[in-house]
């Protein structure tokens, strides 16, 4: 598998640049390595630091009318909430969305990169790239960086000639096609609500409400998820943002405060 070294090319002189025709003689990519006594240990630590940090809840599912994509917006660094307003649904192009879970920079950069590749494909082939193709391009790139500490757990959702498409792609190089996915630390909670309420024949409104509630429930129980629940819909004409509701407000929508019956009431006693 040829490594995508386009990000590592140095301003080396053209003379001596490897020719593709001289098979197998390409120069290995090189970059600065930190000065530590134990580089392998350092690398392992770095990977461990990034690994558990998929503190988020994202979900996507295919239904009759298209694909529904939803995510929370909290970014956490350990116990510190660093932001409540992170855009975790990335717009790759007008008809394809990607979700962010894991390293924010990794997700953002590689989704932008995927957007570039999709556009180049369109220009070269005079047709849009399929969701299958786009997810495969991303999966191949992530696979070539396997073991180097990238942390990406993303879902590529879109609408192409064959209809709605949904793929889960991660930094281990895995790629799965499916109808329902949820990724992140809040995903077990989201799955509970999503799997319970899912039907293929839902209307857009019902599906949006299901997606919203699933994210809300995940943010309720998972400390690493919160902020705003964004819901996007991908249909035959591309994606559209349906809503972005603060999950705190959603809580009181779903569970409005009722005056509760008091078991024992303190009664004013006149006199003693």
């Amino acid at each position: 598998m040829k490594l995508d070294t386009s990000g590592l090319e140095s301003a080396a002189p053209v003379w001596g640049a490897p020719s593709e025709l001289v098979d197998g003689f390409s120069a290995a990519p090189s970059f600065e390595v930190p000065n530590t006594t134990d580089f392998d240990g350092f690398q392992k630590e770095a990977i461990q630091m990034v690994k558990p940090a998929k503190g988020t809840t994202t979900l996507a599912f295919i239904f009759k009318e298209g694909v529904m994509v939803a995510a929370d917006s909290r970014a956490s660094m350990g116990g510190y909430i660093s932001s409540q307003s992170v855009k975790k649904i990335i717009e790759i192009n007008p008809y394809m969305l990607g979700t962010m879970a894991g390293g924010a920079a990794d997700c953002q950069f590689w989704h932008r990169n995927l957007g570039i590749k999709c556009r180049l494909h369109e220009l070269a082939n005079k047709r849009r790239i399929s969701v299958t193709g786009a997810s495969k391009l991303l999966a191949n790139i992530l696979y070539s960086y396997r073991g180097m500490g990238l942390s990406v757990g993303t879902m590529i959702a879109g609408w192409d000639e064959t209809g709605p498409g949904l793929y889960y792609v991660d930094s281990e190089g895995g790629r799965l096609k499916g109808m329902r996915f949820s990724v992140g630390s809040g995903s077990p909670y989201a799955y509970g609500v999503l799997d319970n309420g899912y039907r293929y024949d839902m209307s857009v409104k019902e599906a949006a409400e299901l997606a919203r509630r699933s994210i809300y429930h995940a943010t309720f129980r998972d400390g690493a998820s919160g902020g705003v629940a964004s819901v996007y819909y991908v249909g035959p004409n591309g994606w559209k943002k349906l809503s972005g509701d603060d999950v705190g407000e959603l809580h009181y929508n779903y569970y409005p405060v009722m005056p509760s019956t008091v078991e024992q009431e303190m009664v004013e006693v006149a006199g003693a």
Binding site: S19, E20, H121, S130, L137
Partner: protein
């Protein structure tokens, strides 16, 4: 390590790339090849040099498939053709692997042409000495296509084209006689064009038809002979009709 960075294909003072033009000469000496696009099929035909008695003619196929839905015929250096065809076949599969879709004819043509161009602008190599005729069906729209590439790396789509020996006469014939055809008519047209420059017979012509349903099908010698006989008969009839004046009206 030997120095491979000195270019062989360089500009002449009046803007020619002589190596590329010499490569085109090599193509002109190669066997004739013709391609005709019909509405529901595409036909490739090549001239077969009379096989040596001991040679197994089946091992020297000149029309090859690059994938289930794309085929190629070429004129020029056959050894160069083998290399180019292998690279194209790998690219067809690589495309299937990376985007889970078969190549379009235009894509693989662009790839082959790109390869041919690369070898006109690299150190230590010479251009490929062949022009190719690439046919196939678009996997999405089902539309048949015919493309041609040449040693300079240019490519374009054609309704019908010829390359190799006497390609000019074949192209003239096609320009005069081309019309939208389908099925057997397209095969006939291709063979007619080839017969302009080749001695007739199933022994000297190789023909293959690409259809959407059945992919590439090489025609048997007997089939080709039958069609050639048909064409000959039609020609004779046409000649006779021309010579004999119209029958006088019966009064």
């Amino acid at each position: 390590m030997a120095r491979y960075d000195r270019a062989i294909t360089v500009f002449s003072p009046d803007g020619h790339l002589f190596q590329v033009e010499y490569a085109l000469e090599a193509v002109r000496k190669g066997n004739a090849a013709v391609g005709v696009r019909g509405t529901d099929n595409v036909v490739l035909g090549v001239e077969k040099k009379s096989a040596a008695k001991l040679q197994d003619s089946r091992s020297a196929r000149k029309i090859v498939s690059l994938d289930n839905h794309v085929a190629l015929a070429c004129a020029g250096l056959k050894a160069d053709a083998r290399v180019l065809i292998n690279r194209a076949r790998i690219e067809c599969q690589s495309h299937r692997l990376t985007v889970e879709d078969p190549v379009t004819v235009e894509y693989i043509t662009r790839y082959i042409a790109g390869l041919q161009q690369k070898y006109t602008q690299s150190g230590g190599v010479r251009p490929f000495g062949l022009s190719t005729l690439i046919v196939g069906f678009d996997p999405y729209s089902g539309v048949p296509s015919l493309y041609q590439t040449d040693p300079s790396g240019t490519f374009s789509a054609w309704k019908a084209n010829a390359t190799g020996r006497n390609s000019n006469s074949m192209r003239e014939f096609l320009e005069k006689n081309y019309k939208e055809t389908s099925g057997q008519e397209t095969v006939k047209l291709a063979i007619c064009a080839l017969l302009e420059v080749v001695e007739s017979g199933g022994k000297t012509i190789e023909v293959a038809v690409m259809t959407k349903e059945h992919g590439l099908r090489q025609l048997e010698e007997a089939e080709i002979d039958a069609i050639v006989a048909e064409i000959e008969a039609e020609k004779v009839a046409a000649e006779a009709a021309k010579k004999a004046p119209a029958a006088p009206k019966e009064t």
